[in-house]
Amino acid sequence: MSFGKRLLLFIVLPLMAAILQFAWAGRIAVEDATPQLPLLLTTLGATFCTANEGALLGFINGFLFASLSPLIGGGLGGIIVGNTLVGFGIGWLGERVFRGSTFLAPFFAAAGTLVAALIYLVAAPPPLLLHWLLVTGKTTLYNMALAILLYPLLRRLLGADQNTHAIA
């Protein structure tokens, strides 16, 4: 895949995830569980990236998601930093330890969602911890389920020749 095409995907995919999150997240809720599509894109996309590419993908997704969030009580920095670290971490693991697979995708999604939520918890402590735990648990489960569906699509888009024209 050419550098230009890969760069374009790094812009288009986060924008699509953010628009879908904006328009549909609340509408596709199951028992009050809603997905976090930008974060899911970070966790799954980073498995096809170098560590620095994963960080960049996480940064873009984090910024877009933070722009949609009401951010009552702050937390913009926490969301961006959380997504960036998750993207970097998964990219780093992918480079050194193992490549992603459809089987592993839900676990990456779960780990990424939990780590980002923990960083957000530190950056902007929520008023009700129980509610935060409940939301995080439900979002994690939803992201895990969606990961199984989205992973093959992302592998097709980002997986080919992933290191030959790396962005960062």
């Binding site: 722009s67 920095g77 929520p126």
Partner: protein
């Protein structure tokens, strides 16, 4: 780019450190602006830009749901849907003839019912995002500062109170729903023999706690709860119906749970009070 194993440590993490620094600075800048009551231009611009495609997608999906939703919902529901559609057509025709009989604006106001009671006509808005962030019970609506919406504007439907605007961009506004922890409103029992007053404060559950009621407050299940008229909220807007009442051990205060009059999961159109 060098393969990972050939990169030096400090080069390896330079990009990450730069992005983390950028993210932290952006967060600090945002918090600083918000603390001074000013909107963050970068997130405002981004949200405004995303609102257009998201709004279009939302309208398109609603159209698909109306026209093709029967595929998912099954044939029984489709029959019910057909019957209701026929009923709607009949009512539409009836409505059209009624509209001809009276002045158009007055008739529309009568259809909306509650609008007549308002001192100024409200601003109608579409819901373009329902709870975009799972951590908050908020919606984003298709009207902003350009339309006269401002922070603390009160948002209602014809069923009752929805919440209060917390953030505005030129073309969108974020509304904190009553069920959110940050949504609270002075409330009153709508019964002549009671008029007990308390505070409705959301805790993210579907039922809204009505707290700060006096120990001898006359409140019982089935009572209608309306806004008390404190702060920016006009009095008399329906909030919901009491489903249960609890008395604390010392009988010094009561707490009730209120089922909201508005179905927050099915919000499509709302009105912003001027």
């Amino acid at each position: 780019m060098l393969p990972p194993e050939r990169q030096h440590g400090h080069l390896r993490y330079k990009a990450l450190l730069l992005l983390l620094l950028l993210g932290t600075l952006a967060g600090a800048w945002h918090n600083r602006l918000v603390a001074h009551g000013r909107p963050d231009p970068v997130t405002t611009w981004t949200r405004t830009a995303l609102a257009y495609p998201a709004g279009t997608l939302n309208r398109f999906s609603r159209w698909c749901g109306r026209n093709f939703g029967w595929i998912l919902r099954g044939s029984a529901l489709e029959r019910e849907n057909r019957r209701l559609r026929a009923e709607v057509e009949r009512l539409k025709a009836e409505n059209a003839s009624l509209q001809e009989a009276a002045a158009e604006n007055v008739q529309l106001q009568q259809d909306l019912g509650f609008v007549r009671t308002l001192p100024k006509p409200p601003i109608a808005a579409w819901v373009i995002a329902l709870r975009p962030d799972p951590n908050f019970n908020t919606i984003v609506i298709s009207r902003g500062s350009n339309d006269g919406v401002h922070v603390h504007s009160v948002v209602v439907t014809r069923d009752g109170l929805v919440g209060q605007v917390s953030e505005v961009t030129p073309n969108t506004a974020t509304v904190v729903l009553l069920t959110d922890r940050n949504g609270m409103v002075g409330a009153r029992v709508q019964r002549a023999s009671s008029r007990a007053v308390g505070l409705c404060r959301g805790n993210y559950s579907p039922l809204i706690p009505l707290i700060d009621l006096a120990g001898d407050a006359d409140i019982r299940p089935g009572d209608k709860i309306v806004t008390a008229g404190y702060g920016v909220f006009p009095p008399g807007i329906p909030i919901g119906t009491v489903v249960s009442v609890q008395v604390d051990q010392g009988h010094t205060s009561k707490q009730a749970l209120v089922k909201p009059a508005v179905d927050f999961n099915r919000l499509e159109e709302v009105y912003v009070l001027r």
